[in-house]
Symmetry: C2
Subunit: 349 residues, 2 copies
């Protein structure tokens, strides 16, 4: 056998090469195992439950093994992957309405809503996600996909979070970013399944979460293929296509993914994730459902649900409740938030 | 430096190891290139166009390089990935209607359609895809996802193709199976985007095409999450959710994928793929659109479009037309089809 420098390798040298190759390749998995994949999680029950579950379903030959093509994980976004006080998309909409009100008055009058922005926001607080999405749809009707994306990108590049002294895209939960990576390292496909607008989330999901657009499911408007200045583009109509909340989350998981999630996680606030977690749990064989509880007034917020139905469903169905206060070592990558005193009155507070 | 057998490696030995590693790793790509990834394609222009395109967009540092996350390829199914004479889902529906007519007459009377199956099929021929999908939706209303999947699996396991002497799932085009694999080997994500039912195709797409359920886009019915015998399941309603044909294909690609396809392929027959190919072509930078022409009476079928709009669109827009007769070395994995004399009267003939 000859090498590129012209010298002949002896059998002993070949053995050495093979031995070295074995050492190098066998060293890689043990290095990966030795590094904690979830460093922002405390070593409490929640982390143990997650790691045990992932270990079981990826253990080839074990009784709970699940093939990689069935390792689907779905996550709510607002309040599960990032902070929902206030809801980021509502901040975006406030800016949009402010810009619109500075333009011709006729445009404002055409909105089938209330006279002032604050009235509108108050109305949204009581009327909920459907009213918000209708206002969102109406105010963006006629925009092409490219125009919409550009507006959202500009929003994220220029806006500070109203409560914390950081830019708006930095309020993602670090433990959740680690969990997404951990699942993907174990050949899970990670999806967002949120009441938020599908196109709004898709602008930032690759950068914030490593989740590509095709793995984002959300509320959507009807679109049309139209020719605009010689190019055929998808334009937004003012009509809602789907409100991805409660049981509709399961319906849209069926439409977009076509199989039940093996792993599903939402949060306590509006009962909006019960349908998704219930649907996941209906899977044949083992599956895992988690609910994030916002109980950390110091490091984020402490808030609960009016009727408590999410925690009741968790108790009744054996879902794991994750406490931000007890189960998370840190919450944001930027550390403890510097509170901004000024109170905004946006939904989610 | 020590190896596992305790001997010390000299610098010369280390150089040899490095050289060997370089030789071994650099050998892999050239082996892959030497094997023709599209052996069922003739060395005609269509194949050259495809290979040149894929080489260009995967050439890192080249002017047309496209990152893997944007390498989206979408394919029509009926007449593009498998034979559409007759349409496979219509054969399935015929069997379903036959079974229903053997059951209680009341069930038949409830169908808002014609008195006999042949009348219904004749009606579908003139009324097109919407009438077919409405009949499909109505006759499957109330079924759970699991029940529906079981029926479709049974159909594929038991049914022979009415024209060719093979089982119904074997009429896939071998050149297209190779093309899908070739694209995936080059880090494309391959999607089906078809007028066929999304759930019908998802049952067989992993096995036939290596395409997982979440990469199948099709026509769909509305579903609901319901509790059936203690388990929450998605059940089919009788209402259509989306008719994935013509411009709606672009709309649904926007909904499911969220970006324009880099590569799109349909076939000549009903103009159903013009919207998808037009949308793909609107992508910034290079993209490729292909139309399959059924011009091989001997090995498959020769048929054209009433108004010729697909070929006209191909000419006007510079899309590549693939001739089954001239560009494909073989069509089916089972070789030349043995024709069955009996003529069925199903749509698609």
């Amino acid at each position: 056998m000859s090498t590129s420098n012209g010298k002949t390798m002896t059998n002993g040298m070949i053995s050495a090469v093979v031995a070295l190759a074995v050492i190098l390749t066998s060293a890689l998995p043990s290095i990966a195992q030795d590094t904690d994949p979830l460093p922002s999680w405390n070593d409490s029950q929640a982390k143990k439950t997650i790691v045990q579950f992932v270990t079981r379903v990826t253990n080839k030959g074990g009784p709970d093994y699940v093939a990689p093509e069935q390792r689907i994980a779905t996550f709510d976004n607002d309040g599960t992957l990032w902070c929902e006080r206030p809801i980021v998309q509502v901040i975006y909409l406030r800016q949009k309405l402010d810009r619109m009100s500075e333009q011709t008055p006729s445009q404002c009058i055409e909105l089938p809503f209330l006279a002032t922005f604050d009235d509108t926001i108050d109305s949204l607080k009581t009327k909920g996600v459907l009213a918000f999405l209708k206002l969102f749809a109406t105010t963006h009707a006629g925009m092409s996909q490219r125009e919409f994306t550009a507006e959202v990108e500009e929003f994220f590049s220029k806006t500070k979070h109203p409560n914390f002294d950081v830019s708006i895209g930095r309020v993602v939960y670090q433990p959740m970013v680690e969990l997404l990576k951990y699942l993907r390292a174990n050949e899970f496909k990670t999806y967002i399944c949120s009441g938020g607008g599908i196109d709004f989330m898709r602008v930032v999901s690759p950068k914030l979460y490593g989740i590509p657009p095709q793995q984002v499911i959300g509320s959507s408007v009807r679109k049309e293929l139209q020719e605009v200045e010689g190019v055929w583009v998808l334009t937004r109509t003012g009509d809602l296509n789907s409100v991805n909340d409660k049981n509709e989350k399961a319906v849209n998981i069926g439409l977009h993914i076509g199989q039940r999630p093996l792993f599903a996680m939402g949060n306590v606030r509006s009962g909006g994730d019960i349908g998704m977690l219930t649907y996941s749990q209906g899977r044949s064989g083992r599956s895992l459902q988690l609910l994030l509880n916002h109980d950390d007034e110091e490091r984020e917020f402490a808030y609960s649900e009016k009727n408590g139905e999410s925690l009741q469903a968790a108790k009744a169905n054996g879902w794991s409740v994750v406490s931000m206060k007890n189960d998370w070592k840190s919450i944001f990558a930027f550390g403890l938030p510097s509170r901004v005193d000024e109170k905004s009155s946006l939904p989610g507070e």
